[in-house]
């Protein structure tokens, strides 16, 4: 293997991992606040469709990204209202959101199938992109990939070093105590879910405006589910989400590359891998939970009834 091949693989790995990273960061934030939103796939799709439509009709990629984020937030608000205000079952609501988002995006995007926009092109950062091996992978990507780095750093800092991060975690661990301390549990959860919606919408924009600048029904192709698995895989830790997203990206690139070099791995086996990993992690988590500490936010997925 020569250097340029490795550079190419790393480049593709970061690009493939980006939508997963964005969605997983958002999902993690919402889960850290105690809300399990299985509607990621639906939110990505609505974001991708709205982003593409806005960019196509408005002639501006920036507008497209804004529309995608706004659409993601709007759809997540539907979820938040039903799951948090009306206190419905979060799992069922999330699944319904995915089905709803899939249908809505297909409906909205129907007239735009087959249209094209000029998507985000890679922008090489001078000097940094010349670093051997990792330069192109990290510093010759498009703007949305750079944005994903910034957002990663922001989430990392917020969760680890700020009071806000502590509040979010407190709400997710023990909402009653957080409430007793005077924090508005529902408000925090609403915000976390909306942040998740924004990130999923952004991931949608990445798919329909940067990765493959087109709208096609079902363009998310299961990435929402992989991102949800990724959050578990990363045991709700920001830095592990980054590694996990790139690892998943690497695995899917590798599968395509290996074929070309004559290695045979059953594609079904590789397709299974993320789910196998998730099951393994869940098993591990249960084991640890029974023995000592735990990874998952303690009130994850549990309905919260604010005291009257």
């Amino acid at each position: 293997m020569d250097i340029s091949l490795i550079e190419n693989i790393l480049f593709a790995m970061v690009r493939t991992g980006t939508p997963l990273l964005l969605v997983a960061l958002g999902a993690m934030m919402s889960e850290r606040s105690g809300v399990l939103n299985l509607g990621q796939e639906g939110m990505i799709l609505v974001g991708a469709a709205c982003g593409f439509i806005a960019a196509y009709a408005g002639g501006s990629l920036g507008l497209g990204v804004l529309a995608a984020v706004a659409a993601g937030v709007a759809v997540s608000l539907v979820f938040a209202f039903i799951a948090l205000t009306l206190i419905s079952n979060q799992v069922a609501t999330g699944l319904a959101l995915t089905i709803f988002g899939t249908g809505l995006s297909a409906f909205l995007g129907a007239a735009y199938v087959g249209q094209t926009v000029t998507g985000f092109a890679p922008v090489a950062i001078p000097f940094l992109s010349d670093i051997p091996l990792i330069g192109t992978a990290l510093f010759a990507q498009d703007l949305l990939v750079y944005l994903s780095f910034v957002l990663f750093a922001a989430v990392f800092v917020v969760m680890r070093y700020t009071r806000l991060g502590l509040i979010i975690r407190a709400v997710g661990e023990n909402p009653d105590v957080a409430h007793a301390l005077g924090y508005k549990v529902l408000l925090v959860r609403y915000c976390a879910v909306m942040f998740g919606g924004a990130m999923a919408g952004l991931a949608g924009a990445y798919l329909s405006l940067a990765y493959t600048p087109m709208w096609a029904e079902g363009i998310a192709a299961g990435r929402g589910w992989i991102a949800l698995a990724l959050v578990v895989f990363a045991s709700w830790r920001t830095e592990r989400i980054l590694l996990g997203a790139w690892l998943f990206g690497f695995a899917s690139i590798l599968h395509l590359l290996l074929q070309g070099y004559g290695y045979e791995i059953s594609p079904n086996l590789l397709a299974m891998l993320p789910y196998v990993v998730t099951i393994l992690v869940l098993v591990m988590m249960m084991y640890r939970q029974q023995n000592q500490g735990l990874f998952a936010p303690r009130s994850l997925g549990q309905p919260y009834h604010p005291p009257k």
Binding site: N8, A110, P213, E217, Q259, G260, P267
Partner: protein, 367 residues
């Protein structure tokens, strides 16, 4: 009425009464008015601006124009294969449609099932292999278009490596790969081909990654057998040539898209509608190609030299005239075994069952 005859007009009777009235009305309307022939189409994906379903809908519009008020058409798009398809087809049949075209492979069993319930309705199913008393099937000889498109690709590659993104290793896709390769070899004996399987019909991002992995392996002309135009886009971004499929995909690669192998269903739809109108319809399995103009090539990119275009057109004329077959022996497989002897060609049945690669293609077919 309900007040006068409460004992007669219970729920059950009312329903029966309604049923009789509706049936009577329907039979009156059927006999008194010369209704237009009602023709229904079931599509697997949104119509959009390009692709498999788009081509079917273009054909629907053409026959609608051709027959004017003699027919009335409708369509349902984005119908998932399986149970949903059965519901949609049954609904169409029960609403009095006389001829129903179901345009995806996965509609085969639902079509046969519904056809049994509606023996008077005629059904035509695309790309399947089953027929019944009131079900015919029709297909396009895509591979003839693939062969011609392969000639263009073979002539335009500089590195002599063609990249092919495949969905699933099934005979239909393998046939396309082999045909494309045979076409490329007809103009360029040194050409090689690499195939990458993505194991999905539709994941644009994955199709794009597959395309780029082929570029990494040295391919400088790309084509695919998947649903989206992501491969064409990827080629345009990399500045290398591409060949499309289903419909003209030049919009996705204005500079680099060479041509697309396309399908045009109107001749089949027109013939079937005529037959039903004349009362001569019978179930049959038809497989039409270049000759019937069901398969064609989209206009060439100006970068394709005139000499190549001429050669492709000459081969096209020979295939149409029946003096040349796409699978004309001698053809060897990867191991060098003679698959088609000199002077022979493959029968339709053998064409349907391909599970081997022709010589010159890299890699193995995943099992």
């Amino acid at each position: 009425m309900a007040l006068l005859m409460p004992q007669l007009v219970n729920k059950k009777n009312l329903r029966r009464l309604l049923g009789i009235t509706t049936a009577a009305l329907l039979s009156i309307s059927a006999s008194v008015f010369a209704d237009p022939l009602k023709v229904g189409f079931v599509y697997v994906s949104p119509i959009g601006d390009a692709g498999w379903t788009y081509q079917h809908d273009e054909a629907r519009k053409i026959v609608e124009k051709e027959f004017g008020d003699k027919i009335e058409t409708t369509y349902v798009e984005s119908v998932a294969e399986g149970a949903d398809a059965e519901r949609v087809i049954r609904n169409m049949a029960s609403r009095g449609y006389d001829l129903i075209f179901t345009t995806s492979f996965g509609y085969m069993n639902p079509t046969i099932k519904v056809a049994k319930m509606f023996p008077k309705v005629k059904f035509e199913h695309a790309t399947g292999y089953k027929t019944a008393a009131n079900v015919g099937n029709y297909q396009a000889r895509d591979y003839e278009g693939r062969f011609l498109a392969g000639m263009v690709a073979g002539a335009m590659t500089k590195k002599n490596v063609i990249g092919y993104v495949g969905a699933f290793p099934i005979p239909e896709v393998i046939r396309g790969i082999n045909s494309f390769m045979l076409g490329a070899q007809a103009v360029n004996p040194d050409v090689k081909m690499k195939v990458v399987w993505v194991n999905t019909w539709h994941d644009p991002a994955k199709e794009r990654e597959a395309a780029e992995s082929l570029v990494l392996q040295g391919a400088d002309v790309l084509t695919m057998h998947t649903d989206s135009a992501a491969v064409i886009q990827a080629a345009e971004a990399k500045g290398i040539y591409s060949v499309g499929f289903n419909s003209d995909m030049s919009a996705y690669g204005p500079k680099t898209h060479l041509t697309s192998s396309t399908q045009h269903w109107e001749s089949i739809y027109s013939a079937k509608i005529k037959a039903v109108l004349a009362g001569t319809w019978k179930p049959e399995a038809i497989w039409h190609g270049l000759k019937e103009n069901v398969v064609s090539l989209s206009p060439f990119n100006p970068v394709v030299p005139a000499a190549i275009a001429e050669k492709v057109n000459a081969y096209k004329a020979e295939i149409i005239a029946g003096t040349r077959a796409v699978y004309q022996g001698p053809i060897y497989d990867q191991a060098g075994t003679l698959k088609v002897a000199e002077g022979k060609s493959l029968s339709d049945e053998e064409l349907h069952q391909q599970n081997w690669y022709v010589k010159g293609i890299d890699g193995k077919i995943p099992q």
